[in-house]
Amino acid sequence: MVVSEDVRKIAKLADVGVDDREIEEFTSQCSEILTYFEMLDTLPQGATIDRGLVNIFREDEITESLSQEEALRNAAEKEDGFFKAPRVM
């Protein structure tokens, strides 16, 4: 069970805006879905997970990549070969 304040907090952490008109709808839907997820909590903790996977390593070699121009082509805001973003601080 989650309340609208939980959803607001998580939405803020995830950087997805949810406006006041939507918050009730999101809260009841998320609450219903998270209640459904709770059935997982009946399972034992710490079961052995065997994916049959092994790490494959490679040398750190220079390979072909996008040119600076190609990498910037889809950006709306750019300056002197850089992406331009809103201030973080």
Binding site: V2, V7, I10, A11, K12, L13, A14, D15, V16, G17, V18, D19, E22, F26, Q29, C30, E32, I33, L34, Y36, F37, E38, M39, L40, D41, L43, P44, Q45, A47, T48, I49, D50, R51, I56, R58, L66, E70, A71, R73, N74, A75, A76, E77, F83, K84, A85, P86, R87, V88
Partner: protein, 432 residues
């Protein structure tokens, strides 16, 4: 020698987001075969949107590995198909460009999330299509539209250039009118690619063989029980009897892990999505930002404006599942449930060679029928187990209920995609 064809379908069912009116193609095993590509697979120079406003106008500077392979095989790439935004849905109604309609009944959905690909093939606009399958997104629309769709063994097809939604679950796969078409397309796209770190060196060099003599086919009771339309279950059982007549043996069995599989799937896919979709900040691609706002404010506003509700809902659910205080209850337990599914398959594949059941628990929904998210999620129950375990699964048309197609799902052992294709082919031949 480069040749060209013109492609101007009368796209009544809105299968395409982008079409390419003049297509050039080369010689090769698929020379001149028209292939549509789901719009979450990168195509150099052709807009690729994932059916999202946040990627509207994005022109990939490179091709996905599968697209490179298709071009070298001579395929004529005719367009990019509609889908649920970022693959998040079971109906193709969650597209920001509007829904695709089912060619068998325009009042119904084509299934999803590769609904545009399935509809384009079913409507006869193109010969074949690529889809991607995270929890059933190839098999569901194949079943709902009456075509064949394969989710290959995880790792068999490179995901390089597939715009990621839930990496540990998804595979690109072939869709076509018949098993032979799926097999031809699969033979072009399977194989190793060092740019996908989960890619496996298992090319597919195979011609479908309709022999199922002595094949043991398990029928898990969970695939035919509660929540499954009895008329759909009966149609699929009749299809299995066609395989029995061809020499296969049907064996009743059980998959108890199904009780937790769907919850595990949704915890894992939303968790992976919440991380993957963080890259959509509108800065490096997309609409750009209002530089007067602060980063978080701008990021949050832009994502609210450009992501649909289902995408934001899944990001929020995934962030919940990974948050301190919930991680042990949801994400870690989902991994336990995922292992239980793998263990169930390992046990069953010691007793049987193949598992059969319906692809979907019902026929195609009416448009707007699944407006409640949880109700829509529940309809994925029969397709998610194969993704959780990474095993191959195909959907092949096996009759109709109320005039709508029903899909027979066949699930095989890891890397036995050939046997899955052969069994589907045996059904297709036997049902004629």
């Amino acid at each position: 020698m480069a040749k060209t064809l013109t492609f101007t379908p009368d796209d009544k069912v809105h299968a395409f987001i982008t079409t390419i009116p003049e297509v050039s193609y080369e010689d090769g095993p698929l020379s001149g075969v028209t292939v549509a590509i789901k719009d979450n697979i990168s195509t150099r120079g052709i807009e690729t949107t994932c059916a999202s406003q946040i990627l509207k106008g994005y022109i990939p500077p490179y091709d996905a590995h599968v697209v490179t392979l298709l071009k070298s095989a001579g395929a004529a790439i005719v367009g990019k198909t509609n889908m649920d935004e970022f693959g998040m849905g079971t109906t193709t109604e969650n597209s920001s460009f509007g829904p695709t309609l089912n060619p068998c009944d325009p009042g119904r959905v084509p299934g999803g999330s590769s609904g545009g690909s399935a509809a384009a093939v079913a409507a006869g606009y193109c010969d074949m299509a690529l889809g991607s399958d995270t929890g059933g997104s190839i098999r569901c629309p194949a079943a709902f539209c009456g075509i064949v769709g394969l989710k290959p063994t995880y790792g068999r097809v490179s995901r390089y250039g597939l715009i990621a939604y839930a990496n540990s679950l998804e595979q690109i796969g072939p869709m076509a009118k018949d098993v032979t078409g799926v097999s031809r397309l699969f033979s072009v796209i399977a194989g190793h690619d060092k740019r996908d770190s989960t890619s496996v060196d298992r090319p597919y060099i195979h011609t479908p063989n309709p022999s199922v003599k002595g094949l043991r086919i398990g029928l898990p009771e969970e695939f035919f029980g509660k929540g499954v339309d009895p008329k759909v279950a009966d149609t699929v059982k009749k299809a299995v009897s066609v395989l029995e007549q061809a020499g296969a043996e049907a064996v009743p069995c059980s998959m108890p892990s199904m009780s937790h599989a769907l919850a595990a799937y949704y915890v894992i896919c939303t968790s992976e999505a919440s991380s993957n979709l963080a890259r959509f900040d509108g800065i490096r691609y997309g609409p750009g930002g209002d530089l007067r706002k602060s980063w978080h404010e701008e990021f949050s506003d832009r994502r609210q404006e450009r992501f649909g509700k289902e995408v934001r809902r899944r990001i929020i659910l995934g962030t919940f599942s990974l948050a301190a205080g919930y991680f042990g209850r949801y994400y870690q337990k989902a991994q336990t449930a995922r292992q239980m599914v793998r263990d169930d398959f390992a046990r069953l594949f010691g007793e049987v060679d193949m598992i059969a059941g319906p692809t979907m628990p019902s026929i195609a929904f009416k448009l707007r029928e699944k407006s409640d998210p949880l109700q829509m999620y529940l309809s994925d129950i029969l397709t998610v187990p194969a993704n959780l375990a990474g095993v191959p699964a195909i959907s092949v048309p096996c009759g109709q209920v109320e005039g709508m197609p029903v899909g027979l799902q066949l699930i095989g052992r890891h890397f036995e995609d050939e046997k899955v294709i052969d069994t589907a082919f045996a059904y297709e031949q036997g049902a004629v």
